[in-house]
Structures are given as structure tokens and as C-alpha cells.
Amino acid sequence: MPNRREFLNTLMRGGILAALGLISGSVILRSRDKNACSGGFACSSCGKSQSCSLPAALAARQMVWQLDPSKCIQCGRCATNCVMTPSAVKCTHAYAMCGYCDLCGGYLKPGTKTLDTAAEHQLCPTNALKRKFIEDPFFEYTVEEELCIGCGKCVKGCSAFGNGSLQLQVRHDRCKNCNECSIARNCPSQAFTRVPANKPSLLKSFGKEPLEDAGRKGVRNA
């Protein structure tokens, strides 16, 4: 026969466990809608939450930080606010959108007279953007990841004068996925969002929808 103190203890413990159960249940049910199916929020197959089973909904729950280039204003804070040095944000080149211009707004400083690779003509402060002649009049531009610091100067030039194929993206091999992203906190345009880990990139396209990444480094081609 338990005494009164023990009984109250059990009662309180039961209350705490019930509260924890209530919190978990409510959080799981609320999050289910958006992460139903395996496609996370970018799921295109159903659009309905009712038909999704709970186990499937729970499968795609990991979230990572990503930068939405359609909101980015290239303020340059990505380069300085990341906990990583150099930043986990780097320039990504969406080749499919590139015009291969000779007069590249992302590569050359505005007002440059001679279109060449002279250091004083380059926008990139670290010489991370490489220019290679393909055929007249086209040039290929490649971002050397090791050198890129994510300052977004080339991105700004490319969006202002070109097709916008140079875009800032969080490189997930470098990102620590901090619970509170210090770039997200300082981003003036709220371009940083959490996206499902199985759709980790948000490259913009000429349409309303993001580009689907063609290849995933070291893993597989989509």
C-alpha cells in the first residue's frame, strides 16, 4: 500500500509524461502536412496530406539551411556572418542558364575596356571565377570552390547584367547546419530557409520554379 507521498509522486510523474506525449503528438501531427511523402515541401505527386501514412511522413524529416537566390540581394553578409571561415555559402554556377558571354557582368568589373583575365579587371576578390575560351564568341566560367568566399560580387554582376546563372548556395559539405544559422539571422531579405534534406538546393531558373540540380557531387546524377 503506497503512502500519500508516493501516490502524489506517481500522479505528478504521470502528468509530466502525459504532457510530453501531448507535445510530441501535437508537433508530429502539425509537421506531418508539410513533410508528407518523401518529397518534403517540394513534393509534387500528391499535394494532399490526408493520404499520407505517418511512417512515410516521418521518413523525410531532416531539414537543412538553404539560400533562395530569388530573394537574395547580394549584400555580402554570407561571406562574413557564417560561423565557418571561409563561409559555407559559395557561388554555384548553373551552366544551363549561362549565356557564355565575352563581356561577362559577373567576371569583369563594370567599365572594363579590354575583355581579358587581367587581375585588375576581375570582380572576384580571390580569383575564384575562372574564364576559359570555348569558341568565338563564347567563354565558359567556372567557380573554383576552394577559393570562393561567398561574397556574392560576381552574383550581383551576373544578376544585374546577365542571365543570373551565378547564384549563391549553401554548400552542404561545409555547412554545420547550426540550429540557429547566423547568416539566416542577419540576412536582410529572409532568403535563408530550412529545406528538406532530400531537396537541398534552391537554384533559381528563368521560370517560377527552382532548377532541379542535375548532379549531386560524389553521389549520383539525378
Binding site: A96, R194, E212
Partner: protein, 448 residues
Amino acid sequence: MPAGKESEMRKIKPLPAKALKTPAGKTATTVILTLVSATLSTAAMAVQRFPKPEFESAYTQPQTLVPLPRGEFLAWMDVFVLVVSLSIVTWLVLKKRSRLLVFAMSVFSLAYFGFYREGCVCSIGAIQNVSLALFDNTFALPLSVLLFFILPLVYTAFFGRTFCAAVCPFGALQDLFAFKPQALGSRLNTVLGILPYCYLGLAVLFAATGTDFIICRYDPFVGIFRFNASFGMFIFGGILLLSGVFIARPYCRFLCPYGVLLNWTSRFSRRHITITPKECIQCRLCEHSCPYDAIEIPVTSKSPESRPAMVKKMMLLTILVPFMVLISGYAGSRMQDTLAGADSRVKLAKEVMALSVMQDAGNSIQDDSFEIKAYKTSGKTESQVYSEASAVLKKFYIGGWLFGGFIGLAIALMIGGRMIPVYRTDYVTNKGRCFSCLRCVDYCPVKS
């Protein structure tokens, strides 16, 4: 362009239109909102100024490569390691009663959760994710984070704070520094013990309003785990660790917001560690063994207070508690503006307002701040910005009442706890404050 290349380029293809949006809103308003935001988001869409070149040479366009994030199964491995280490530590604490093995486990946890996982994900920070998920429907909480929040509490409900003993990397790190712990005295312990309640209240308030995750932002040890602390955080962490030589585990006792939850859960735990496995022989050896002032010494003076005096105290408390809650809640609601000032939406509204005042006065602005530039390109109207900010302010009004009331309740209960007389014959652990580190068990001469 060679025909073979075409299929390769197609690999970069736009997703279907509805893919961008979250699944269809249930009400008409959400549909309208979705449409509005869809039209707004097209404002910053890429413009095709130059056509895709028609290459004549055999040039192959490189693929755009995107590195994949950490594999999802690794998140489940973290949960697995958490469960296993919680179970092992609980077994070591309650069955083996071995301080040495608990210490070994704490070194493992420090290595895995601390230096390998770099302090993320952690149960302390998970408070914020859970709070945000409870109040914001658009925030999707990963299940592993929910488990990191729930599991230590469940274990604590049954076995006491074994999580603090050797699973939490913060505790493990500070435990290494507790060389010369000094007793602080019960008064100082109780008063400083209010700090975690304030920290918890603020953290939940800021997380639930979607303002900030302050626990992670002002995390003193994560920078040490990653070897890249900012100067301020390095000093903060360093001070905590160095003061931890004399005041053992200062973060755990006087700051940790998760500790508040663990403390209250542990008070009602089913099987908590006891100093002695059998009967206390009153040898007093354990008296000074606890670095955390969590051992209650016997109060043997058998002079119970008179019934009228007790009734008086009881009546005082029944008035004091609601009074404190109300006063403190009111104070919290008055702090609405100050607290909401930390929110980016409120900050933006203030900047936009200042801008429009300047423009009305006929002054031209030389250089817009990045926030204003972003606001101008986003296509939001001024009134939209203001209504967003006022919605945040409203949340902070309610949140301020709750936050203040919570602090008031914590202080009132602290006072009440000190008013109630206790009688004890043995040395016992304070179930709320005890971290189950087993130092006292080592000192106890009674072995099972």
C-alpha cells in the same frame, strides 16, 4: 549542338509549378495568401537576357554539381547513440554505482556529442525547435530533434537526471573542470537558481514568436567544440569553464534552461540514485563530497512549528503566489516593446517608418541599408510590413504576460520552498538538483 548532349542538359529541368508551394491550403484565405506570395516571389526571378549559345565545337556543358547534406541515417544514428548512452549511464548509476565508469561514459559523450557532432543537435537547443513547432504551423520539426527533446525527460521521469550525469556534452565538459568546488550556501544557490527560469522563459518566448534561438546564439561551449568560437563567446565559455574550477558546473546549475525541465521531472522520478544502498549510518563522510550542493544534510531539531504559525504561512503563500504571478506578468507585458525589438520584422517596420518620415520631410536618403534595399526589391507594401510587425507585437504582448507570470511563479515557489520547514534524519540527495554523478556514492562506506 550534338544530339547526345541535349538529353544531358535536360537533366536540369524545372520542377512542376505546384512543387514550390506547400500542399494546398485548407481555407480560402490561405489560397489567396499563397497566390499573393507566388506573384511576389516572381519579382526577383532570373531574366534571360542572352540566349543559350549554339556551340559548333564539341563542347560539353558541365553539370551543375550540388553537394548532398549529411546522410539522413546519421541523424538516426545520433538518436541511437543517445538512447544507448542514456541506457548505459542509467544502468551504471542505478545498478553498478560506479563513479569511474560514469566518468568514462561522460568522456565518450563529450567526444561524440561534443567534438564529433560539434554540439548540434542537443537537447537544450531542442526546446526552441519544439516551441517554434508548437506555435508555427509552417515550421517542420525533424523527428530526431523531437526525440532529443523528449527522451532525456522520459528517462529522468523514471531514473533521475542520468542525462546530466554523463550524456550531455556540456555537463561532461564542465565536470572535467570541477577541481576545487566550493559550497555556495543554500541562499545563493536558491537565488541564482532563478536564472535558468528566466533563460527558459525568454528562450521559449523568442522561439515561439519566431524571433531568435537565443540558447544556440549564446551557446558558450559550441564554439569550443568546433574550435571556431567568436571572441565574445570564447571569453564567455572560458569564464564559465574557469569559474567551474570553484563553482562546479556553473552553466548546468545557473543557466541551463533544459535543467529546469529536468529538475522538475526528476523531483517525481520513480527510482532516483541514493547516496547509500542500505541504511545511512550517519558517518558524515558524504557531507562535503557533492560539488553541486545537492546533498541535503539532516535537520534533526524536532521542534515542529505551531499549527497557527503554519496556517499563517499557508495563507500568506496562497495570497503571495497569484499576486506575484499577476505583478510579474504585468511587468512582462509592459516589456512587450523591448522584447519585440529583437524581432527582424519589427526592426524592419521601424526602419521603413523612419524612411517614410524622412521622405515626408523632403530629405533624400543617400544610402539605403540592406534591409531597406531588400524591402524595396521584395515588392511588399508599407502597410504589409506594418501589419506583420503589429502581429508580432501582439504575440509579444501575450507572450510577455506568460513569460512574466512564469518568472513570478518561479520566484513565488522559491520563496514558498524556503518557508516550508523540513525534517530529515539522513543525508539525502536533492532529487531536483542532483546530477547523479555518483561522487557521494564513492564516499559512502556502506556497500551493497
